[in-house]
């Protein structure tokens, strides 16, 4: 029996005086009861729009213009406002892309989780609470009894995402729509969330629609996959069929984008001494700086690294590990508490105001969020012209010419120059960002998660571009990301940050095979593989209980990862600070285990990629 039937769904966007565009152009699909259907496609392909229409909702500015949506016996689109309200959260529940944005910051979690049940007058408040606590438990949330009393900002992103699922499930809806529930999460968190979702879906036998742009994730969750592009269905089949035998060219393209080719090694002149950028024993943070020069919020702790001329250093770590802070310190936007930064062997002043024009020029930063990194009130031409003028005094025709060159370099049409950032897509903006950095003619570009906000296809194109620029212009990069596969794809060297500490540093290949630092191991293991069943297999090890450990004591900086480390040693990790060890691969790690031990433990892991 079909639980969901979508026929000829059309959604238009834009209001009368502006151009009316069709966002969804006649989409059909069905979902059987208890089945999980994945909607997949690049950003802007209409996934969210379709998902919302299942709840009879269109975002402001959009309207559902045709087709039918049936959920169970209900014709959703013919319902009036009241009817739709009754449908929502009761029959069809929605789990939004960003839980942190979806939760009301001013109300407690329990209040919001139980709201749907109370809203639809399904149970008493007390019963709703009971049920919520049960759901928290089955979603593997910590302290299920009390977590409800917290406010959204008091729990982590991954937990919040699970709480949102609890909110969706509290009414026992017939259908749950997950809209990219893990896209905003770290790989390590993503795994936990995915596992929790999978468990409850299976237990409750809910019919689900799972929206994502990540094929590997979808492979774990879905029974069927619908591939969307430009508002139309390109392919509709079982998971195995779509992954193994894609019928559509676009699907193949998507698959190709995930399987990135190993980059050709660029000849990096290893003998350039000194390196382009060297950081020694850097500590930095935010807030008031105390008498010992330690800031109130200490983010980076004793980080050292080197970037050779023309090479790329990857910086990986979970959210909050201090990656952006590192880039900001180098750019001079955050004061450092301790340590030195050398550019070309010469000390780089900590304060921006003390740097020379040339130092400014040689280090350029490209921020994570393309939207906020471009001044919305200036045209692209202005934005690009400024660094040329500022650093090189280029004006008029010369600047114009250089600007066109740059646009060409980042593969943007020249016509874009007259527009303002608001008129560009995310990928285009990121290219402008990059072009602006290039306009300065820099030696080092600090790329802070430049592809994280982009979908795979566009992201892959940007990475390609970076590699090309490096080949042609010989710039160096500090490439910050939490995505291991990306880092592995384009970096020469890698450092791994955990809670501000550099836990591992080495060549790109250190990520390819064990042994590695336990944290690196966790990261590597958490990257979903493009094969169904990977998640279930992995859960078995990751779900294991950590070895017990006593209270911490001792002097100095203990290993920051010890609380989550699967291979920690009681009496050692919580007493003495770890020492720097060299692994056979040449990588340095900060751990009590030796390379051999790690190798043994990590190769035992059956699903290590």
């Amino acid at each position: 029996m079909n639980m969901i039937e979508v026929k000829g769904l059309r959604v238009t966007g834009g209001v009368a005086p502006d151009a009316v565009v069709e966002i969804v152009k006649g989409v059909d699909f069905t979902v059987k009861k208890g089945e999980v259907l994945a909607l997949i496609g690049e950003s802007g392909s209409g996934k969210t729009t379709i998902a919302l229409s299942l709840l009879g909702h269109a975002r402001s500015g959009c309207s559902i213009s045709g087709g039918s949506v049936r959920v169970g016996e209900l014709d959703v689109l013919s319902l009036d406002e009241r009817g739709r309200r009754a449908l929502r959260a009761r029959t069809v529940a929605y789990v939004a892309q960003s839980a942190s944005a979806g939760f009301n910051p001013a109300r407690t979690i329990m209040d919001q989780v139980t709201e749907p049940a109370l809203l639809h007058k399904l149970t008493t408040p007390a019963a709703a609470r009971e049920k919520a606590i049960g759901l928290f438990r089955s979603l593997a949330l910590p302290a299920p009894e009390t977590i409800g009393a917290r406010y959204p900002h008091q729990v982590s992103g991954g937990q919040l995402q699970r709480l949102m699922a609890a909110m969706a499930l509290i009414t026992d809806p017939a259908v749950v729509v997950f809209d990219e529930p893990t896209t905003a999460l770290d790989v390590t968190t993503q795994i936990e969330v995915l596992a929790a979702f999978k468990k409850v879906i299976r237990e409750l036998g809910t019919t689900a629609v799972y929206v994502s742009h990540d094929l590997a994730v979808v492979a774990q969750m879905a029974d069927r996959i619908v591939v969307l592009n430009g508002g139309t269905v390109r392919e509709n089949g079982t998971t195995a069929q779509v992954l193994d035998a894609p019928a559509d060219a676009y699907t193949r393209q998507l698959l190709a984008a995930t399987r990135r080719p190993e980059p050709e090694a660029v000849a990096v002149s290893k003998d350039t001494v000194p390196p382009l950028l060297e950081i020694r024993g850097l500590s930095a943070g935010y807030g008031r700086i105390d008498s010992k020069g330690v800031p109130a919020v200490r983010v980076l702790d004793d980080v050292s690294l080197k970037i050779a001329r023309g090479s790329t250093l990857g910086v990986i770590g979970e959210s909050g590990s201090g990656k952006t802070t590192l880039a900001r310190v180098v750019a001079g936007l955050v004061d450092r508490a301790r340590g030195d930064v050398l550019l070309d062997g010469k000390p780089l002043p900590a304060q921006l105001s003390k740097r020379t024009l040339d130092q400014y020029r040689r280090i350029q930063i490209v921020f994570q969020n393309a939207d906020t990194a471009l001044n919305p009130s200036r045209t692209i031409a202005d934005i690009l012209a400024r660094p040329m003028n500022f650093y090189h005094g280029l004006r008029g025709n010369a600047a114009q010419k250089r600007m066109l060159e740059l646009l060409d370099l980042v593969k943007l049409p020249a016509s874009i120059a007259k527009r303002q950032p608001g008129g560009l897509s995310g990928g285009q903006k990121q290219r402008v960002n990059l072009a602006r950095a290039l306009a300065a003619d820099p030696a080092l570009i600090l790329c802070d998660e430049v592809t994280s906000a982009l979908d795979t296809v566009v992201g892959a194109a940007i990475l390609e571009l970076l590699a090309e620029l490096r080949r042609e212009l010989g710039v160096s990069y500090m490439f910050i990301s939490h995505d291991i596969s990306t880092v592995r794809a384009i970096c020469d060297e890698v450092i791994v940050l955990y809670a501000g500490q550099r836990v591992e540093a080495g060549q790109r290949d250190v990520l390819a095979a064990p042994p590695y630092h336990p944290y690196t191991g966790l990261l590597v293991d958490s990257v979903p593989a493009l094969q169904p069943g990977w998640l279930d297999a992995r859960r078995e090890i990751a779900g294991a209980v950590l070895p017990p450990m006593g209270a911490s004591s001792g002097l100095g900086e203990l290993c920051s990862f010890r609380a989550r480390c699967p291979v920690r040693i009681d009496g050692k990790c919580n007493v003495t600070p770890p020492s720097m060890k060299k692994l056979p691969s040449g990588a340095e790690i900060l751990c009590h285990h030796s390379g051999a031990e790690l190798n043994r433990m990590q190769t035992a892991d059956p699903v290590a990629a």
């Binding site: 909702h57 979806g102 910051p105 809203l119």
Partner: protein
Amino acid sequence: MKAHAQRLIAARLGLALLTLLLVSAVVFAITGLLPGDAAQQALGQAATPEAVAALRHQFGLDQPALSRYFQWLFHIVSGNFGTSLSNNLPVSELIATRLPNSLVLAGLTALVSVPIALVIGISSAMFRGSLLDRALNVLTLSTVAVPEFLIATVAVLIFAVKLRWLPALSYLSEVSSFGALLRIYAMPVMTLCCVIVAQMARMTRAAVLDQLNASYVEMALLKGASPMRIVLRHVLPNTIGPIANAVALSLSYLFGGVVIVESIFNYPGLASLMVDAVTNRDMPLVQGCVMVFCVAYLTLVLIADLCQIVSNPRLRQR
């Protein structure tokens, strides 16, 4: 939360002292520019040079400005607000007789205007772009666009002179019952409401609109919540901070800005006391009044910030 609020209050107290010091200096400086002084003013047409000189000496005005300022400051620190030059009463006493009146007027006006403004602001935000929204917009704008003395006079003409429902003057001595209080305050409060509702309503509208764009609102919609519930249960708790700030700014007007209303309704508040003090060049009194206004303003802003903290769990935590 307590700790955070306490820290905030402590920091604010420090800054408040600085602000008060600045205010007193500013006031002292600009009133120093005024032609004439208390002695001349007290003598009026009868000001002969000798008489003025004698009175100046008596008032201590013959000392250099700076030393007068520091003397005044020194007295303030020891809790002495000085003596009014125009009628020899202690400044603190003069203010003490007027302050409660100002507080009552401001309080009642706040009591009436804030709910009205909130209702207007919220409903126009809820029905953004609708006829109601536009009508409310034009309505509030037109009330604020009419000079307050005109509103007050029209009100008096209608309600006091024509209909005789309300007294034309605010006779505080006759506040014997709640009904009498309502009658006496009805017109001044109404006039002041016309002045301040518009700004608060507009700010409320903006704040609510801002939040209506937040994604948790869409989420609430997808939970099946009705628009009313969304605004009241979801949006409002998040807008308390900005709204409280807007309200605080508007309300601070109710202390010093109400000269006209006070004079038309013959209401003995602080604002007219201060205008008198300026006219009489009665510096200790001017300073005293400004201090009160400044403290009122800072208190309101502090309360607004506390509201923001209480309403925002993130801030509450710290």
